[in-house]
């Protein structure tokens, strides 16, 4: 017999079911493919952004010229580069018309950056629209706009850099290489390599950064290249950077976002699988008697099994194709919506990963998911003809074992999607753990209530329905619990990230950041600004120090070896001995105590006693610091000890001066220090005039205009917020679809009972109440348990992956509790409505 042809013919005879199955599976696939495409597109944008920040595919830089052996290694071992460029950078004072400023000088070669651009006010985008003839001459510079104000200059004027004069050739309105880092936010002046030589600023002992940038042909594993280069050039003084590394410097939130997108895809994949499992279970229920007839007609069980596999393969494949076709057909619409609603360009693209996932889940996943159902079919046709049959516990156990191939498949797919064995293992462990926990507990509880009776018929029937159909009650309960848990997890993690991305409300972001304020200038500066009705914010002393030891153990810096996990990566980055300290009485408005006690007051010791310090919580976590730990700092040769008395949370996105470590007052006051401060948001006039005026009285104070950089950071944050929101909504939609199919299946299982009860004369109202009560208990109980688990898991995930960020917003769990319960009720009502309204005879005599 031609089994595929027969399978196709059989499916054609169940058109209604096939339509329903394909509708559901293609919707699930659509969700999955859209999520995957979105993730891919967003990663592409982020990759592009990372490359723009670095300006190249790869860079090796140092505070010195590269040594001969290092140059030899790079020349002989790096892949053939399509473009190479060198940069030279240093901080220097620059004088304009009567004013001088500290600026960041950066010398570049024509054509650099290879990715990204400088937006020049007159020439347009460099390098794209600026020909070599219009590039920087040895005596010309391009400057950041605030410098024109600060130096009281304009385009065409002369600036004195070192001992040479330079002409301001153009103004840089946008620099894609600028990020929110102390060195990067300083005002920049770009000049040519010949220009920097002309300045004669590079002398022996000068602090200069030399950068070597490369662009390669596409498709190179840049991270691996970075790793190999680092292994061969182990000098910690060399900065070997790939775009990902540069991208990470944009902010750790991007990494969180990537982890989050992976988690969402996993959740959607799991939910889609659960939905497909129930759909196929419904189908097999319909087909049971057909199979028995085929068996009694002489078709061997092996062939019936193969026939079912063909059914599954055809249905799964068709669902995947449909889902893919719909999602690809919707690409123009998606692109339109994305461009309409998102504040940034996100070209929605087809990618291989979504194809693999769609066909993998749709065909292989479908077949593996169907195995437990197919093997649970009785081999004896007589059993199949019977209305109901019971399974022994051995048979039930055997049935569970058939889930194993799917579990392995899901695990492998989870690793592929999340790019992490840890995340995949945690997810799988979580699902199995919850199943193992709920199943015996549920069996016990259902056994206890099995014989409960009530004078209310509907109550009695609802309890018996649940207690006597233990297996199906528990399987739907577990599925709903997992669904509710995942639905809680996604927005909860979204909340955690959103809190991280919380930005200052309108008008609260400062306009200027001030540094290099001398101690004696603080009160004068305050008085000066006060006379102009401007408040000086977050005035903080800054003392430079190095960490000598922690609890008596020398503090080592790790420089080599590729970090295995995100956590190790963070720790490596933070193990930098240099640290800026401050001191103050208590917490600022942008800080919150999370552990320990506030400072006891002013340091009362005579110098031998350990002072109190407060540590920022992420920093504490990375260095594994806890309350009571003692750190020794080297403050310009003087050793100072500090004991951690509290851990605090800092809202870094306030853009106000904040520090990882704060000392109690009375310890660092005598140490050499400068002060940092910020100036609140000013109107355009004030922003223009204040710097010019202020520099007359405070010429040494460096003032950085934050407006542009904050605008860029806020845009990035907004972009990520949108990505998170869309992903959360998509996963919610997939989840709700699955709940629909779960409850729908359960109701289908009860259809015969409903008809029988009607035949016996039960009132419509009692029947309705019975079903609704049953699904209310199931929906409410499962959502309550799922939401609690989701909150717990989100807490653990936050601790493990999101650097212990966790926030709780009661509206989310409450909303989900109502939605999942309400949806269960609605679906059960809709699914039974036809049966409830139909005439008993239609069913009794047709089945």
């Amino acid at each position: 017999m031609n089994l595929p042809k027969f399978a196709l013919k059989e499916l054609m005879n169940h058109r209604r079911f096939v339509f329903f199955f394909l509708f559901n599976s293609s919707l699930a696939m659509l969700g999955l493919v859209t999520l995957e495409n979105f993730k891919f597109s967003f990663n592409q944008v982020l990759d592009q952004r990372s490359k723009q920040i670095l300006g190249a595919d790869f860079s090796v830089s140092a505070r010195r010229q590269l040594k001969g052996d290092e140059i030899n290694y790079l020349e002989s071992n790096l892949p053939k580069a399509t473009k190479v460029a060198n940069t030279t950078a240093l901080f220097s004072m620059v004088a304009g018309t009567g004013y001088s400023r500290l600026v960041y000088l950066r010398a570049i070669e024509y054509g650099f950056p290879f990715f990204g651009h400088l937006k020049l006010r007159e020439k347009g985008l460099y390098p794209k629209n600026v020909p070599f003839d219009s590039f920087l001459k040895p005596n010309s510079v391009w400057v950041y706009p605030e410098l024109l104000i600060q130096l009281n200059s304009k385009v065409g004027d002369t600036l004195k850099i070192g001992n040479k004069n330079f002409i301001i050739d153009d103004v840089i309105d946008e620099d894609t290489q600028q990020t929110f880092q102390m060195g990067s936010i300083a005002s920049r002046i770009y000049l040519s390599q010949e220009g920097i030589k002309r300045t004669e600023l590079i002398q022996k002992g000068s602090t200069v950064w030399y950068g070597n940038y490369y662009q390669f042909t596409d498709g190179l594993d840049l991270e691996k290249l970075q790793e190999t280069t680092r292994e061969n050039l182990p000098d910690a003084g060399l900065w070997i950077t790939s775009p990902k590394k540069a991208g990470q410097q944009v902010g750790r939130v991007l990494n969180y976002l990537n982890d989050f997108l992976g988690l969402v895809s996993l959740v959607a994949l799991f939910l889609a699988s659960v939905g497909l499992f129930y759909l196929f279970r419904s189908y097999l229920k319909i087909k049971r008697k057909d199979f028995a007839i085929l068996n009694s007609l002489g078709m061997v069980w092996n062939d019936i099994f193969k026939l079912s596999l063909w059914h599954l393969a055809i249905l799964g494949f068709s669902g995947s194709v449909l889902g893919l076709l719909i999602s690809y057909a919707l690409i123009p619409l998606t692109n339109y919506l994305v461009s309409f609603y998102l504040p940034f360009q996100l070209p929605f693209q087809i990618n291989a990963s979504s194809l693999i996932i769609a066909f993998g889940v749709g065909t292989v996943g479908n077949i593996l998911l169907g195995l437990p159902l197919l093997f649970s079919q009785h081999e004896n046709p007589i059993d199949l003809f019977q209305e109901e049959f019971t399974k022994t516990s051995k048979e039930q156990m055997k049935g569970w074992m058939w889930f194993l191939p799917w579990v392995i498949f899901y695990f492998l797919l989870a690793i592929y999607i999340s790019n992490s064995i840890i995340i995949a293992s945690l997810f799988l462990g979580l699902f199995l753990g919850i199943g193992i926990l709920i199943y015996p507990l549920g069996l016990y509880l259902l056994g206890k209530i099995s014989n409960l009776t009530s004078p209310k018929l509907y109550l009695s029937l609802a309890v018996k329905n649940m207690a006597r159909f233990r297996f199906s009650t528990l399987s739907i309960f577990i599925s709903l619990t997992l669904g509710a848990m995942l639905l809680t997890l996604i927005p909860q993690l979204h909340n955690n990230l959103e809190d991280e991305l919380q930005t200052p409300s309108d008008g609260k972001a400062p306009s200027f950041f001030l540094f290099d304020i001398q101690e004696e200038q603080v009160s004068k500066l305050k008085a000066y600004l006060s006379s102009k009705d401007v408040e000086l914010l977050g005035v903080s002393p800054m003392v430079q120090a190095r960490i000598q030891d922690i609890n008596g153990k020398e503090f080592k810096i790790s420089t080599t070896g590729r970090p295995l996990t995100r956590e190790e990566e963070r720790e490596q980055r933070s193990r930098n001995r240099s640290i800026n300290l401050t001191y103050r009485k208590g917490l600022s408005d942008t800080e919150e105590l999370v552990e320990g006690t506030p400072f006891s007051g002013r340091y009362g010791g005579n110098g031998d006693e350990v002072a109190e310090i407060s540590v920022e919580r992420r920093y504490a976590k990375r260095l594994n610091l806890g309350l009571g730990d003692v750190l020794t700092f080297d403050v310009l040769g003087l050793l100072v000890k500090g004991k951690v008395v509290n851990i605090r949370r800092v809202r870094w996105t306030s853009f106000l001066p904040n520090f990882f470590i704060v000392f109690q007052p009375g310890v660092l006051e005598e140490a050499p220090k400068t002060f940092l401060a910020a100036i609140p948001q000013l109107n355009l006039d004030q922003r223009t005039l204040l710097p010019m005026d202020m520099f007359k009285d405070f010429p040494n104070v460096s003032m950085v205009d934050l407006t542009r950089v904050i605008k860029r950071v806020l845009l990035l944050i907004k972009q990520m917020g949108w990505a998170l929101r869309i992903m959360a909504i998509l996963s919610l939609l997939v989840g709700l679809l699955v709940i629909y199919s779960l409850v729908g299946h359960q109701v289908l299982d009860r259809r015969k009972d409903i008809v029988l009860l009607k035949m016996l004369g039960i009132s419509f109202s009692d029947l309705n109440k019975t079903i609704l009560l049953e699904f209310f208990i199931l929906g409410f109980g499962a959502s309550l348990m799922g939401i609690s688990l989701g909150l717990g898991v989100s807490y653990i995930v936050s601790m493990l992956f999101f650097d212990s960020l966790w926030s709780f917003r009661p509206l989310l769990p409450l909303g989900l509790l109502v939605t999942v319960t309400g949806l269960s009720l609605l679906v059960s009502y809709l699914a039974t409505f036809r049966v409830l309204r139909s005439r008993v005879g239609e069913w009794l005599y047709q089945n």
Partner: protein, 223 residues
């Protein structure tokens, strides 16, 4: 007269064609009497029974049960009437699988809000000889036992009319005979009227009246 059926007609549409299953069926049945309806497969016997039970509606005609025309009742009233006055026994038993034997029986009383349902259910099971199997689920019972539970469920509300659709059709001959003996004895002892749909001429001959359903019309056959 407990049941009076007049000019009952029922049509179905099949593939766009009108199928006339019942073309005007009329008959009467007195209290305590039984009537057998025989006919070939597809002659409309089960359709007639479902109309009499009020689980389907005719195109025209009337069904008067104790003076009340079932056709004029709305769905809710019909459901109550069926629960109170009609007992139905099916060939396929149609028991609720998750309820124990006694719970299946007591359910009929619970639906009517009759108290003491557990005791009454056990009494009914005793009547059908199944008191020892009261705590068992349908899956643990044999075919004959299941049908006895279905009979107990049908008679526990003391219906005025019992409708039996091939009640021994799914059983072996010996068990089938035992079940039919039980039904006839209960009909006699409880003074119920019964309509029995069957293929079996011997069974039909045990009823007071016999009707043959052929070509949509009902013809009385002398006993």
């Amino acid at each position: 007269m407990i049941l009076s059926v007049e000019n009952l007609q029922k049509n179905f549409l099949q593939g766009g064609n009108k199928l006339e299953i019942l073309k005007g069926v009329s008959f009467n049945l007195s209290s305590g009497k039984s009537a057998a309806i025989v006919g070939k497969s597809g002659s409309g016997k089960s359709t007639l029974l479902s109309l009499l039970a009020g689980i389907d509606r005719p195109n025209t005609g009337s069904i008067n049960l104790e003076g009340i025309n079932l056709i004029e009742l709305d769905e809710k009233e019909l459901t109550v009437k069926r629960a109170q006055e009609i007992g139905i026994i099916f060939q396929q038993f149609h028991l609720l699988p998750h309820l124990k034997a006694w719970e299946n029986v007591s359910l009929a009383l619970d639906i009517l809000g009759i108290g003491n349902s557990k005791v009454e259910a056990h009494k009914a099971l005793e009547k059908v000889g199944l008191s020892e199997r009261a705590e068992h689920f349908p899956s643990e019972l044999s075919g004959g036992e299941k049908q006895r539970v279905a009979i107990a469920r049908a008679i526990v509300v003391k219906p005025r009319l019992l409708l039996a659709d091939e009640p021994s059709g799914s059983l072996d001959e010996e068990t089938g005979d035992e079940v039919m003996d039980l039904i006839f004895s209960l009909v006699n002892s409880d003074k119920m009227a019964m309509i029995l749909v069957t293929h079996n001429k011997d069974l039909a001959s045990r009823c007071h009246d016999q009707y043959v359903l052929e070509h949509g019309l009902l013809a009385q056959r002398n006993n």
